[in-house]
Symmetry: D2
């Protein structure tokens, strides 16, 4: 349920509505807007008589949200979600670039990559310190040592860091070290982990599960938001189908319906989505044209020697070339590269 | 196998190679190029000693084609296939628009649509006279009467017609009446039909089967080309997956690998691909950005009263708006609207 | 719509109802039952006032059928469909075996196989004279010559023949030569072909399309039945999914819902369904246990030298062993091997 | 790599081999067999010279395991894995039944269900105390309180308990309270959780992920086994496909290849696999016939009032009837109900 306050409602009036919601054993989520405040209500709202809230001073109306996801739905929050990360931003007028290696391999390579990105106007870097590997015998990432490296890279270059969190145990350390917490595709329905990152105050980049429907994906976002963390970025990274011409089937067609049903920003990961570097530039352009808000791209100073996913990583010159192509169509599409 | 002739090979030399190939009980397919002629060979080439051909005057070299598709493969024909249809063209510098109603409903509506399209620079119209319907009790199209209407529309407006052929019985009539013969998704592996259209001399628009791999699709094209009809256009129209946010899952990611493996042009049908008109403009822009050579879009003067597929048809004003958006990004992408 | 006649309705009364239905420009399908006759009505029944028929002498009631398939639905025909083929039968108490090579390769091998089958109590043989091959350059079957061989094999051994029909052109010849006309998976929605076999009077074995839903499959059966041929056997042969441990994903779970929604018999093809001979016996047992009415199995006197699909063909001793296993569980499951 | 000891190798010889493996910075996994001991080696075995181990006293031979999963592969452990749980067993001659409600709702219903099961010879009960729910607002299970109830039910009835563990936090409590730890489909690649249950000494029932390949599933089992817990049961529960006639597509065809590639037992969950109670008995019979080692079935004293998944739960009389049918075909299939 959504309580919409009148344009001139006072802080006291808002506060009283919050208290009344809590008294009903429900959870209020204040959602300040440009002209008025709204208050989302989650919990078992089925049995609530909305008139109890509508009669309170400063309340304009109560609206029932028909979708199973509430905080993630556009019914409850009609404007596109927008927020800042490090020195860049995420919103409907920006096409936010995130790039970097699959794995953090050593400090020298990550520093080199960060400097290259900042020189090229890319202000967010992705890199994995904890790696979800199919085999228990494969390299599992640098772990906590990697987080220390991230702090030094950030301090020196000013770049924002996006990294994956794989379990609740390392949540505090990751929240402390980076700018965006990534939830990987295999953990999209790891509900304990989603609840935990709902308690952090860093943006969460939520990758779509390999065979998740749009509704399940938005429900996963709802788990994070129900904890009070509203800065969620959806990230399409390819789904699993019969198709064998690419590693996964990058589902750009999810972007328009996601934009209609939800106010959350949506990024695209064409590197995992296709699995082959030659397919990354055309699918990146297509993502921008389809209405995505940003990209998550794998690049590597020397892809053929990458410890993981080299086949889908662009080298620096090809990434620069792709940035140039993106810039050319961003403007007619009403976006600024960010 | 591919025989590459020397740049200055004479017609007599080429002719002698053709004869030698036939003498080996194989089929030669002359493929004239900008600087030299090549000759594709199909049939059971496994046992052929290529030296028998390499010693002939004017022959530069013989190349074994490693893919199961031969004539459709880029190994055998490295340049992008290009040809003209009606007053427009299909090639790697053009983004060819095809639009029109799902079904031909009556002469007035089709004439109105054709005039609208020509006024807006769209020179090819799609419309179904024979309709593949899931139910035997549903409207099956106007049939042969529809073909007569097409001839009159064409005569009056000059527009080129694209229509579906469902069986060998009507092949001659359809070839006679229209400019492009469409093979529908349900018939992508109707091998008798593919062989039949291989004998026509009209371009064939070959829709991808609902769960066809790229290789199966190119093999279907090969069936058409093996008959001597080399003007094949691939058309992606969405594949079947678990995903339920759209009618099918439009697989734009097939475009880059298709372009690498084959020289054939590839169009995209975002109307069937998504099933909802609101998703058509963003996915059309994405198709162009991903490297498609053209679009097949459903439009209708009054979509809410369409006899079939109204939910996925654009009305005229929204189609015009979409054309404007496409034009804006076509130029930076190196394409001209056609 | 379904008109149910009273138990003692006379032929004249039935005849009058048929005429009345035709007078409404609809098509009547008489469906004689054990105790009373019912008459299915197809065509645009939406606008028909059922009272026009209910007042006729001998009519018990009119029932609206809610499914898009009518003749195939259990609503219209509550008893399981049963019929005889050659010297065996198809019904809910029999588990009907069909076995044989993928392709008819030559007369000797097919005669040998037929004799082996008859000796082992298997009275139906499958073999392809017209082969749907992915490649235009692959062996396309013996064609019409093969049909002649079938006639001789049938005459000598008494075995019934099941073979695939690929186009309308050969429909009459195939109907004449064999006992069951098979429609292959790639042609499940070749509507022209479905209409054509609806005009034959031989049972039709309708393979499920590679990504067909149950409803689409029953609609395909409806196309055949709408033409007046009610002897349709559904055949599950594996669907296309992301799974890579077998050639297709054999969907035995379609059997229970198919049995609820339709009265048509359903067979299973574990050879194409799995693609590997070692998986055929366990999946055959599972098909019987899941409620299937029969099997379509590939066997070959010398599988490793088969012209096609040898990897999924059982040799004779392994097929005999499997027959033994099937027999052991058929009885407790209430089935007799047929 | 696998070191096979001679039949009469002494404990000292085995011990020396284990030490030598550790000296190479690899992990030895002793695998005692009926006639001789084998020692699996995991870690980076690529660079190891097997001759270093082959020269040790008591060593028969060293075998390279070619699959990415080692401990789970039949190459390393040729006999079927067998072990006891509570008062029943898991092995290739037993068909092990596990039944119970989706959620533990209260002590009375679970006690009633346990008594019913023990009376009917079913010695393992499934019930969820921690529930993975798509919505954060849905009932999340009784949690730790539920584990106490399990202990009382177990004490009173002697039944063994199977329950799901959702996070590392509750691993010790769950290991302490129950007989089998279930890893749910959404956590099949929650690698942190897999590693944690690898450290427990209770059997782990590992559900297949919604779109997991067989190899990925065996790799997930390998994560558990690499920790030293070799009692892993695979559980097929339906995969996600385009098919809409059931909740998921129950993939019984995975059983034969799983049996060839791995020695681990495999159970089937027809309740989640189909989502509809009418489909559970035929698919249970089919699972047994296909070679499964056990079943995981949802039953409920009053399915229509179940707090979750009532539509797929059998009531007690229908479950008894199904048990009777299973018993009839178990014997001819060489299995004893357990």
């Amino acid at each position: 349920m959504l309580v919409v306050m009148q344009a001139g409602a006072s802080p006291e009036q808002i506060s009283r509505v919050l208290d009344s919601i809590r008294a009903l054993e429900l959870t209020p989520h204040p959602l300040p807007g440009a002209t008025r405040t709204a208050i989302g209500i989650t919990g078992n709202t089925g049995a609530v008589d909305s008139r109890l809230l509508e009669v309170l001073p400063g309340v304009k109306e109560c609206i029932r949200v028909t979708k199973p996801y509430k905080l993630a739905s556009r019914e409850m929050h009609s404007a596109d979600t927008a927020f800042d990360i490090a020195s860049t931003k995420v919103n409907s007028k920006t096409f936010t670039m995130v790039a970097g290696p699959c794995s953090l391999e050593n400090e020298a390579m990550i520093m080199k990559t960060a400097e290259f990105l900042m020189e090229n106007g890319v202000k967010l870097m992705r890199a994995g310190a904890f790696k979800p590997r199919t085999s228990p015998y494969a390299f599992q990432g640098m772990g906590l040592e990697g987080l220390e490296i991230f702090k030094r890279v950030k301090k020196r270059t000013g770049i924002g860091i996006v990294t994956e969190l794989m379990d609740t145990e390392h949540a505090a350390a990751v929240e402390d070290a980076v700018d965006v917490i990534q939830i990987g595709t295999r953990n999209m329905q790891n509900f304990s982990l989603l609840k935990r990152v709902g308690l952090t105050r860093k943006p969460v980049l939520l990758k779509r599960g390999m065979s998740a429907t749009l509704e399940e994906w938005l429900m996963a976002a709802e788990y994070v938001m129900a904890g009070g963390n509203y800065q969620v970025i959806l990230c399409e990274r390819g789904v699993r189908t019969f198709s064998d011409h690419s590693r996964n089937t990058l589902d750009l067609s999810v972007i328009p319906p996601a934009k209609i049903l939800s106010h959350l920003p949506i990024f695209v990961d064409p590197s995992h989505g296709t699995g082959k570097r030659a397919f990354v530039p055309p699918m990146s352009l297509a993502a921008l044209a389809a209405g995505a808000d940003g990209l998550l791209v794998e690049i590597h100073p020397d892809p053929d020697r990458a410890m993981s996913d080299g086949a889908q990583s662009l080298d620096f010159p090809n990434f620069q070339k792709m940035l140039g192509s993106l810039r050319q169509i961003a403007e007619p599409l009403g976006r600024q590269m960010g």
